[in-house]
């Protein structure tokens, strides 16, 4: 039942967002080419902006995917934590320690700096 409410909320807000954008634009002519040129303070670009963009933080993103898995394991742990008591603390402590070793190593290798 909740899923149905979520779905309707999603569709309604998405529809409202698209309608608000589409309704006024129905009878507006498309902009002229000089108006559509990208704004660079009056300057002109050499090429399309779409290019093989050199993302400078790419090692950080790879590190994040590996670390993200930790989240997957921690949510169920949080639910049964009080039942399991001290054993859960020990287990998750070990899990966190292992993964924070990875983060310290990555920090020392300068992963979080712009490559």
């Amino acid at each position: 039942m909740e899923l149905l409410t979520l779905l309707i909320v999603l569709l309604l807000s998405l529809g409202a967002g698209l309608l608000v954008q589409w309704l006024p634009m129905r009878h507006q002519p498309i902009a002229t080419y000089p108006q559509r040129a990208p704004f660079l303070g009056g300057g002109t670009p050499d090429s399309h902006a779409w290019s093989r963009y050199h993302v400078r933080y790419y090692p950080m993103t790879l590190l994040l995917i590996a670390f993200e898995m930790e989240m997957m394991f921690m949510y169920p742990w949080a639910v049964v934590f009080v039942e399991k008591g001290m054993m859960a603390v020990m287990e998750m402590g070990m899990f966190l320690a292992i993964l924070s070793v990875g983060i310290v190593y990555a920090w020392r290798e300068g992963v979080f700096k712009w490559q």
């Binding site: 093989r52 790419y58 989240m71 169920p76 054993m87 292992i98």
Partner: protein
């Protein structure tokens, strides 16, 4: 599982959504669209999982795949030739074999799905998926949980070693030249500099 008609309709629509977006992933020109089509396909599968009373897995699928598809989009744009599909592109080889293998795979698994008889033990309605998963993880299969942690650590270290150019001792490749052909001779590195240029999969034509 309450097998109302509403559930079946949502399931069918989500199934078609998943398959169509999965197919569009390989048919679209723009790389960013491809990765976000795959994200939509994952979200559709996630919602199906929620319908199957595995709430936690479904919602976990959302955030896990959102992060992964963002990273996938970044890397696809970094390495693919024509990232935004302005020129229609089909970087495809051995098309026939691939289609054949795909169909064969589907037929075999489909046949197995139709013909094989699987035990019919539906999950009990009052099961709390998250709690049972938590108990399982901290209880019987704690070993799997900890070894997964170790594997994740090795992945993190492997990723950092492979991808980052500068270690803590500065740029790895700075000043390192392969040894000369004869002792003390000029390094061989210089010779293969231009030869290496054309071996890269596609011709660079520096036009201005």
């Amino acid at each position: 599982m309450n097998h109302g008609i509403g559930i079946d309709i949502t399931f069918l629509s989500l199934a078609t959504l998943a398959v169509v977006t999965g197919w569009r992933v390989f048919r679209t020109d723009s790389m960013v669209r491809a990765s976000f089509f795959l994200l939509v396909s994952f979200i559709a599968v996630g919602v199906i999982m929620i319908l199957l009373a595995a709430e936690y897995l479904g919602v976990a699928m959302f955030f896990m795949m959102a992060v992964e598809m963002t990273v996938m989009a970044l890397f696809m744009v970094m390495f693919m030739m024509n990232p935004a599909g302005l020129n229609p592109m089909n970087m495809v080889h051995q098309e026939r074999i691939a289609i054949g293998a795909g169909i064969v795979g589907f037929l075999v698994l489909g046949a197995m799905a139709l013909l094989a008889a699987f035990p019919d033990q539906p999950v009990s309605a009052d099961l709390e998926p998250v709690r049972s998963l938590g108990n399982e993880m901290l209880g019987d299969s704690m070993l799997i949980f900890e070894s997964a942690g170790i594997v994740l650590l090795t992945t993190m270290i492997g990723v950092v070693v492979l991808s980052s150019h500068r270690g803590r001792y500065g740029a790895a490749a700075v000043g390192s030249l392969p040894p000369g052909l004869e002792p003390g001779g000029d390094p061989a590195g210089k010779l293969e500099e231009d030869e290496e240029e054309e071996s890269g999969g596609h011709q660079h034509h520096h036009h201005h």
